[in-house]
Symmetry: C2
Subunit: 372 residues, 2 copies
Amino acid sequence: MDSRRGFLQKFILPAITLPFLPVSGWAKAPFSTQQTPQGPVLRVAIMGLGGYGTRVADAMQACKNAKLVGVISGTPSKIKAWQAKYGIPEKNCYNYENYHQIKNNPDIDVVYVITPNALHRDHVIGAAKAGKHVICEKPMAINAKQGQEMVDACKQAKVKLLVGYRMHFEPRTLEVIKMRNNGEFGKIRFFQGLCGFKAGDPNQWRLNKELAGGGALMDIGIYALNGARYMVGEEPVWVTAQETKTDPVKFKEGVDETIQFQLGFPSGAVASCLSTYSMNNLDRFFLNGDKGFAEMQPSTGYGPIEGRTHKGPLTQPVVTHQTVQMDEMAGIILEGKQPLVPVDGEEGLRDLKIIDAIYQSVKSGQKIKLQV
Amino acid sequence: MDSRRGFLQKFILPAITLPFLPVSGWAKAPFSTQQTPQGPVLRVAIMGLGGYGTRVADAMQACKNAKLVGVISGTPSKIKAWQAKYGIPEKNCYNYENYHQIKNNPDIDVVYVITPNALHRDHVIGAAKAGKHVICEKPMAINAKQGQEMVDACKQAKVKLLVGYRMHFEPRTLEVIKMRNNGEFGKIRFFQGLCGFKAGDPNQWRLNKELAGGGALMDIGIYALNGARYMVGEEPVWVTAQETKTDPVKFKEGVDETIQFQLGFPSGAVASCLSTYSMNNLDRFFLNGDKGFAEMQPSTGYGPIEGRTHKGPLTQPVVTHQTVQMDEMAGIILEGKQPLVPVDGEEGLRDLKIIDAIYQSVKSGQKIKLQV
């Protein structure tokens, strides 16, 4: 898509189209694949125009029921670029000083907060106080205390708070969850989630404790944790965790490189998880029950998710996760639909409570009892 | 093989052969597939004629350099059956009262102890004192203290002590180890070993603390532990462990049903292991390095071992593990050959030290430092 846009910009648009269309118009035309809506359309402003924000914006071009209509950013040049690329009108563009005025903008339904983790709390609460529903990227915050404040603020403001758990809408993941609910795996005994990659740029915000609130666990380990919960289908009652650091220069105090953690569930099922910023090839889920199993690899990457169960390969449609997520979230926010796996603030808060306990267990070396 | 023997016994032998041959002779003829030796032949007496002893005896019929020549058992009917099946002369048959007389038998080189775990110490020391080399089935004993006594006793008696680690001779396992030694996986980062099955008969000796010395960890979890060591290629420096019990009737006090344990290695590599008597489909190894990976499933079952690396499937020959083990052990005992992965008493003792620490960590909830 990038190279196609580059080609269009260089050779066609300056000569022919530019004189007749505003910048925000021409860019949208070749890029958008917007579908005919099937129900009310959720009008979304994205806050934070970084790499993942761009991924969401691109994916939304194929949405049926959600539409990117606004942006909030501290970088004017990014706003200009997004206006051009996605056809966003000037009146829907905000910065961090004036975004509270979004309250007076009837053309925006929801703010999707995609800023660094440590800023989520203030940004979500700010959007809620402006009377807008909020979608917050995971992790919802950097600890459970913040998460609770966010849940409370959204409740008080009477707006919905959702967390960007894209896997909760991924067809092959949902198929495994449905099979589990149908008893096709029998009694669930074991889940294993190995999630990690080698973190690149040492100067990225994800390796800055102040902005990230932690390290790999906050960013990628949370997929194993959240996955353990939606794959086993229970809430854990204990956790133990062990940290290993091989590169203390890159992964400074408070920024975890590798954490192994284990969860115990009320049924007696157990989970074994790995969160790491220093290994390749780690995107693996394995769910084991008395009657069968599921294994997925990749399990939480952007796709396609590949996997099989004891009955054979998972063959559900390959989708762009964020496209499906935003269409489904439109139904949740505008029509009160209930997803199979929750994506609300309470769901995000449960992960934060367990993350708190994982860091606590790393420090104390003790098994931590959980009440989530 | 069984049905072939059945056929031979019913229709041919009674009429023709039986009058002319002693029982021990005719049975050996149709059963044995003994190969032409390539070097000195190790003459083996098996102590303990249970299920696994029978498996070893059957596998030995195809050995080139090892030969089953004697038995030690407390059950006269079993001795008779083995004499008939494997052609074992009366003079090489012992019971637990008189087996020390094996000292005076020049036709036996080694005693392979395949009795319940808690009896290994006395049986190994007994055989050593009778001047025979000893092969001891894993786990070598029920704790490191016993293991040390066995190592010391064999050293004092100037006999060799080997442990029945059949995987140390399995061609596909060895291929992965060789690839690691050649640096083909790069820096090793992670090993995962999931080893378990559903324990059947609640009255089997393996579920009796007095005889087994523990539960799943002693019997099947040791494969994950030993595998972690030979796959990572280092000795662990710490271990943490968590126990889960869902069936305290079947798995009584001191008999572990499910234990998760984690190991840390000097290089910073970590291992995540599962030992269980209550799950199916658990025979999986995964080794992950900076440049590549290996995965095996089944990884430690009787075979065939199946697996692949980042370079493609493992295609080394499928072998009967115990056949290769005994041929290789003949070379180690009689010719002083050095295996790629050790199988001596010290190797068995290292696993016992870590097993002790795993049980200690389960009890204390603490990370245990290791010196193995």
